[in-house]
Assembly symmetry: C2
Homo-oligomer: 694 residues x 2
């Protein structure tokens, strides 16, 4: 089947340099084959289907591979969530995922002329978004920990999970800086501070590399500055603002060896990022020397059609600007036509293909055995699996900054084995709990407390703890705040519960009965805030963003596509806080939230306010630990908390040029960036010698 | 006293070109004399003092002239307002103003080595801000007329008043584009639309030139984009946004022959405009070919000290960037030191002096006889007054674009005479009234209406009609809305009145009695909104902006330094609207306002909503004309009206890149740009031949 002439070409020789192998391979490729390597058109969950006794590759996938003689990458083979419609009934768990990944590679190798393997790309916003992927706290919670080392450890664990399932590249939000918390993706940002964002981004890349996974950093660039906090809107950014605020994290990620960056939906200076040569080439490559890939955000190249008038030109513009790999776009698949029509040079295409292939060589894809189920008539007599893969990934690199860290594990199990990732996520969650208000010594709860009322729409639910971009969880996964408090309370403590109100809306019918529970308790813990939990009812856009037209989808106030104008809590929640705080019982408000909400003053002066962000599945335990004093509230605000949407923006790092506030409201944040109280009291006194010198 | 060697130098020869005269004069100047020509340090009202039988020049002024052997310009000799503290008791009326202007020139000519006259610079934001200066509607009202020709006529009238009092340059806001109506200076903007702003700016410059007055356009550039709508804050603007949105008006003004532009307080791309060489030199001069002057905004150069560390460097940076004339700055007076220290070249200083002197020659200052009171031992045997001045101003120009229009009037009386400027202002006001909501056929008021209740804090007041930057008015000036309605109502109509509530605050004690008047009437006219009226209690910053720290100064919700976070009406006004609309009596809400306010839905479906903006002193008559149907509501929105501050920005010309609204509120404007109803109904039907062809 394979002509002898192709049996031992240079590109298959692991002892050659990556540059030599790429040059050799590129020289053998047809124009359509090149186009195939810069495309990533399929939704990964369309690549397989359920059979009575397992899963198999679909014709859709087979057709895509044959269409161009190979494909660059496959997105989200293992993604599971309400948008993809993938769940436990038909989706891939860890074992099946690893097996299907091998099937994909075997098919690509065996059914294409050159046998080029496929980059397997997965979402890993806070844990691998796949069935049985461990969910970690969202980035905003990570920012609140101010602990890059802890985060790197968690990322390494998540990456090991992802790598164990045969994937190579993790898509992770890291570059977006909070400028307007109305934006539903605020939860995906670490912070409003470029330095903290840069430190966390560096930790992210290093953590992933230590598990042999390449990170594609989302989103390049300036997406946090979208006008009005509206998702994927244009920015009005200028160069200084871009460089000082929005590029620092990307720069750090590139320095740390990121495998790629994702070109964002928004515009910079009137030009969409995917068509922005200044950003993708002048800054990223010419100035920073980046040699990884630029992946377009999902469908972003096709969005250019409304500017270019036709898809062929759209693809050409994106390639010319510096995009190397599409995501779901139809227009990028027509690059051969673009080259034929002279809209872009074949040299530009070669450069993109070179970057994609280099990454494949560096990540060891050509040495990756299709594993156990490997066919005896395998394509080539490759090196032995163990050791060689690691050598291929690091030793063969000619781009020292990119993935030149510790070698990729030969057997993913080597890495994934001993790490208690869920426990690590819980540590991150605990470190992120931020005490914002503490009046009247409510906390920590006294061990002698015998009656606790736990109230509110986020009190007895796990889904709101998880954040956006999460896969379905197995039943019984996670610990709600109510469960955490029940588990942590002293034996014999009476813990009552009422929902009090729905997450959204103005229904106050349950408020009085909840307040009655508060009145009968020694302390009321009120768990309010938001939720990014998607459901079967959620309507999605073609890129997986929630399509939220007229009103908030039930149970969703945050996440991609869910931008809010008003940052106050919904009417029901405010009524509940008002009624509960009017009982005279001390109140602890715990906010489960993906953005800073403005909380009105309660009707008591004995209260505390904590933000738990989206702390992940075991968040309830982390919160309970802080409430009972088993852990310090260590979190510090990674973002300014506004008083209302009316005085936005409130980020601390605005250029201060002698201007003043508003006459009707303070222009200052309700809680400033970096704020966070603790249980410890520090006193300063006269210095005292602990020991006299003799 | 004057040495014979200076009797007939070339620069005094009106038959020489401006370029020749400037070159000659510059060659004779010492370094300190040059520095004097680029400075404008004094508050003009410090240049004179009251005497028992008139006014005289102060030692402050005399000292300033001697300090540098002449000064470039004198700002606001005739300015009167609560900030300057100038009123009718001690200030300059039209006659005294003209006389003092002559005194200033005579002093400068007779007491300096080279006898260089002084540019007299005045505020003319909407009429000359001087005692007896006619107040016109603010720019936002002008924008609502969409009538550049009418505006040009009004500007010509105002300029004639100013010129008649001996002034040469009018400072007028025109370049600021509304992007965030929280900004207190929104009233000074024409619109959110670059094209409309450009047309109005062109009309402004042409109108002023037709009366021999040069316009200095405020503010260059991008000030409307200050972050958060906070006065003089930094912008985050990029180049595209700057050029497409913020520079169009300036470009039009420059093309129309503006005498100058004022460099703004804000930053562009991290560099304050007064130090921004890209803006002041590359764009303005190199690209556009502008030959007029760049004046710094008041004290803006001194604000650079916090960046440069010392005043000498601050002045050097501003000069180097392209500033030609300071305003009140101390640092610009130390340019000789800056040249000596090598911080800026003398060539740059020469260029600035050249532009200032060129303007003086072009405006005919060297030919302007110190008039009637001229001393017999006058400095030079100049040409006869009449005719020559006009010749000097136009014929001598070597910069065709700048002030090369109709010659300056020899005798200001020639122009100012017949124009009924107050009547012209009333026409503008009438054309600006914008009907936003009309439900249930309330308008126009039926001639048969016999009982009208006129209610609200802005109903019986003239001060709120005027806007910011206005001088004290003589008692009895102006027509309030109540007065206008009383005058326009049919004989025998009962017009009742109550204030109902204060302009600001939450006092609702008068609401019930006002609602009772509404209940007893056939229609209630509710005059709500804001006010920029300064008072003796207002505290001011050194540049005349209101210093509003913690709460709204009584009676002020708008104007320079009065930025609002919340765009809804104050609680008292909302309560009044609620109570009045609950009576069942049809309601007409008239907003007197300098920015678009968000008006809540009333409790009636028979109501109308009009914006009268700040319509000027006779605004009450204009409003009454529209209410009674004597005039169509011709105004159309020059700005989008938001639903609340939470969904800002709402300008219509945002870049639309496939993004959606908020999930909790509409992202669309409450009333869109260009909206405005009329009393006319238009029906479309099948075409019908009015006459058969034979």
């Amino acid at each position: 089947m394979i002509s002898p002439a192709y049996r031992d070409p240079l590109y298959r020789d692991p002892s050659a340099t990556v540059a030599e192998r790429v040059r050799d391979l590129l020289g053998r490729m047809t124009l359509p084959e090149k186009v195939g390597q810069v495309n990533q058109r399929l939704y990964g969950w369309h690549a397989y289907e359920r059979t009575p006794d397992g899963h198999r590759l679909t014709d859709t996938f087979r057709d895509e591979v044959s269409a161009f003689g190979g494909i660059g990458a496959l997105y989200g083979l293992q993604r599971a969530d309400p948008w993809s419609g993938v769940g436990f009934a038909d989706g891939l768990d860890a074992h099946d995922g690893a097996r299907m990944a091998r099937e994909v590679q075997r098919h690509a190798r065996e059914n294409t002329r050159l046998g080029i393997p496929v980059l397997l790309v997965e979402e890993m916003p806070h844990g691998h978004q796949a069935l049985d992927g461990t969910v970690l706290p969202v980035n905003l919670a990570v920012g609140a920990t101010w602990d890059p080392a802890l985060y790197a450890e968690a990322v390494a664990g998540a990456s090991a999970e992802l790598r164990a399932r045969g994937a190579h590249l993790a898509l992770v939000s890291a570059l977006d800086v909070v400028r307007d918390p109305r934006w539903g993706r605020t939860e995906e940002c670490f912070t409003e501070d470029p330095y903290l964002a840069a430190r966390m981004t560096g930790a992210l890349v290093e953590g992933a590399r230590s598990s042999g996974v390449g990170v594609v950093l989302k989103h390049f660039a300036g997406q946090g500055a979208s006008v009005g906090g509206r998702n994927s809107a244009a920015t009005e950014l200028g160069a200084r603002e871009l460089h000082e605020i929005h590029l620092a994290a990307a720069r750090a990620g590139v320095s740390a060896g990121a495998a790629g960056v994702m070109a964002a939906y928004n515009e910079f200076d009137g030009v969409p990022c995917v068509a922005n040569r200044y950003l993708l080439t002048e800054v990223l490559r010419d100035r920073w020397g980046f040699e990884g890939i630029v992946m377009a955000d999902g469908g972003a190249i096709d969005r250019l059609v409304r500017l270019t008038g036709d898809p062929v030109t759209a693809g050409a513009r994106a390639l010319d600007a510096g995009c190397d790999l599409s995501l779901w776009d139809a227009s990028f698949a027509r690059l051969a036509e673009a080259v034929d029509r002279g809209l872009v040079t074949e040299e530009r295409l070669d450069a993109a293909v070179t970057r994609v292939l280099s990454l494949k060589f560096r990540l060891g894809l050509f040495e990756d055995e299709p594993a156990a189920s490997v066919d005896s008539g395998a394509l080539h007599a490759g090196p032995a699996l163990k050791g060689q893969a690691g050598k291929g990934s690091s030793g063969g690199s000619d781009a020292p900054g990119v993935l030149a860290g510790p070698g990729m594990p030969a057997d993913p199990g080597d890495v994934a084995g001993p790490v208690d990732l869920a426990g690590l996520g819980e540590r991150v969650a605990r470190a992120s709990v931020t005490l914002l208000v503490h009046e009247g010594d409510v906390l920590p709860l006294s061990p002698g407390t015998r009656r606790i009322a736990v109230l509110g729409p986020n009190a007895d639910a796990v889904a709101p703890l998880l954040g956006d971009y999460t896969a379905p969880q197995r039943p019984g996964t996670g610990v709600s705040v109510l469960q955490g408090i029940r588990a942590a309370a002293a034996p014999g403590t009476e813990v009552t519960y009422a929902e009090g109100c729905a997450l959204v809306g103005d229904d106050v019918s349950q408020v009085d009965s909840a307040a009655a529970l508060a009145a009968a308790a020694e302390v009321a813990v009120l768990v309010l805030g938001g939720s990014s939990a998607r459901s079967g009812d959620t309507v999605f856009d073609t890129n997986g963003a929630a399509l939220a037209g007229s009103g908030p989808p039930s149970g969703m106030t945050c996440g991609e596509g869910v931008d809010l104008a008003d940052l106050s809590l919904p009417i029901g929640q405010r009524a509940l806080l008002d009624a509960v705080s009017a009982t005279g019982t001390p109140v602890v408000v715990v906010l489960v939230q993906g953005r800073p909400h403005a909380v009105p003053a309660p009707r008591t002066s004995t209260w505390a306010l904590l933000s738990a962000w989206y702390p992940g599945p075991r968040g309830g335990r982390a919160v309970a630990d802080v409430l009972f004093g088993n852990a310090e509230p260590r979190g510090r605000l990674p973002v300014s908390v506004p008083r209302s949407a009316a005085h936005l923006p409130v980020f601390y790092n605005a250029k201060d040029h002698r201007y003043r506030g508003y006459v009707d409201q303070s222009a200052e944040a309700r809680h400033v960036f970096g704020h966070g109280l603790s249980y410890t009291t520090v006193e300063y006194g006269a210095p005292r010698l602990s020991r006299r010198r003799r």
